[in-house]
Amino acid sequence: MSEICCFKGHDLKFYWTINWVVILLGIFLLALTLLLFIFPKNKENQRCVVKIQVGDLSNKKEKIPTVLVFTEEDKYGLYSNLLFKYFLAEGVVCGHELFVASAKEHPDNILKELPAPLLDDTYRNELGEEATAVKSEDFQDSMKIAWRYQNLPKTEASPTSTKFGHYYDVSKTMPPELFQSRNWHSFYLPEELSLHPLPLHLPCKLTPARRAYTRLLQSIQRIIYQEGFDGSDPQKKQKNILRIGIQSLGSMLWGDDICSSDTPEDIHSLTKFLYVLRALLRKSLSACIITVPAHLIQNKAIMERVTNLSDMVVGLESFIGSERETNPLYKDYHGLVHVHQIPRLNSLICDVSDTKDLAFRLKRKLFTIEVRETVLFHYLEPKRWTYFLLHHQMMVNVAWHCFGVWDFTLK
């Protein structure tokens, strides 16, 4: 027998009051939780600045650690080439000396294609333009579940006042006057091999790769010694940093067959080169970036050894030609950044960031690297994470060009 509850008149009023109280309480609690969520979020809206500084190094008394940066090229070498140029461009703008080595392009041509620096106010406008262009695309669809974020104040896309490094416009090239006034050295392998014969004290049985790498090491060592980067010239009052860039090391253009054969002739040539290069870097005020076509190297053991021998290893994976190109999650991005190793110099721990998911994209004028945040509701609406990126964008925008120059104080 079913029961029917009948409410008498005055009882109904009582229950309605209770209901109202419950509803109001519910709204109050909801508002409280929302507030609790919103305010911490506001704190996180501050720009996350990576602790890399390019300062006036000549005044610093602290020992500057030198870093060997190793970049694994993406499949077509487009983006790693861009990072390579950023590294050199930052060197020009900071007044460092450059050493550019390549077996593919003449260093003169590489320097002609460096991105133009954005100076002072112009960069804010550039970045503002880019940011608003992107935002307007995404606001077409309104948010359904994460509705509370829609009303949050938009943060500005321009960086905070603490300036670290410089910004560049990839659609323009650097004016020649900027780098012509700087002291720079080049190493173009075909020229070097034809101009200078091998010294006699080296063993005759040298593979082409060993010959090329030895020649490069000798060249670097000569520059370091002659220009006094190793402190050998006490009269040199202005201390400067040498930025070394080596393009596509290990490729066949350097005479190495590790990219073309499973059983290379000399499996140790690349690793020996890196070891000696690191020794040279440690002994002098220099930093180096090397790009390597890692995807071509057949023997994966070499890549493992190379990772152990480098201070910092970054891999770029571009979406061109892969199935990720059509994945809606990555629709605004051109590739992923994999950080395999971070330098641990002068301390036991490195500066590990919380986020491991980094993606990059090449906008009309800027190359940016962005962070993928895990959001409370992201499993409900996976495409929403791109919205959060606008707020929590870590504009490591060209911070990579600051490689090798870290601000350290030794206690």
């Binding site: 090491l217 000798q218 060592q221 140790h268 020996k272 070891y275 023997n299 053991a301 721990i349 590990v352």
Partner: protein, 196 residues
């Protein structure tokens, strides 16, 4: 403290990076003594010169009174990258054991790198061989569950009691650690400072 020890002669530091520069870019050796890293330039695949250096450094000369020498090798995997054959590396360690452990009653501590799914067969060979012959293994690895801010990894301390042929199993202890700027804190599993 280390600088003082170095001056007293208590610490002998062979800095590989520096020595290789002297070897490759320095002037000809006048002293007649071969560099410990001879194998780099000549392509000779044995590490005899390195072993001789170790032996002469640790064998006590008349006036020294240091007891219990310790040989620290950081890091053995690099020797493989530099062209030494795995057998040569194992021979080197074996010779060092004979001198340092048996003759001089000292200890050897060796560091090697390894990956779970490593494709570096030579390195895995060296690592496995060393594990078989070691009395104590400190196995440091990241957490199986992935990256964590408060716990950077775990360390397994394996005491090779089984080597003593008393039919006992190896003793395994597992701790977790967190690395700070200048030191490391160890704690039992699940009891990191962030949790307590």
């Amino acid at each position: 403290i280390l600088t003082a020890a170095k001056e007293r002669g208590q610490l002998i530091f062979l800095e590989g990076l520096k020595s290789c520069l002297d070897l490759l870019f320095g002037e000809e050796e006048q002293s007649g003594q071969p560099s410990p890293l001879q194998f780099l330039s000549e392509g000779a695949s044995d590490l005899k010169a390195l072993f001789d250096f170790v032996r002469t450094s640790l064998t006590p000369a008349g006036s020294d009174s240091w007891k219990g020498p310790v040989l620290l090798v950081d890091d053995l995997s690099v020797l493989l990258s530099l062209g030494a054959a795995p057998v040569a590396v194992l021979d080197f360690i074996h010779y060092c054991r004979v001198v340092v452990c048996s003759q001089l009653k000292g200890n050897i501590v060796v560091l090697v790198h390894s990956n779970e799914d490593s494709e570096d067969e030579e390195n895995e060979l060296v690592v496995n061989s060393l594990c078989h012959h070691s009395d104590l293994i400190l196995w440091v690895e990241g957490l199986a569950t992935g990256f964590c801010k408060d716990v950077h990894g775990q360390i397994k301390i394996i005491r090779r009691v089984s080597l003593e042929l008393t039919a006992e199993k190896d003793l395994v202890q597992v701790y977790q650690y967190k690395i700070q700027d200048k030191n490391v804190t160890f704690f039992a599993r699940g009891l990191s400072a962030a949790v307590l």
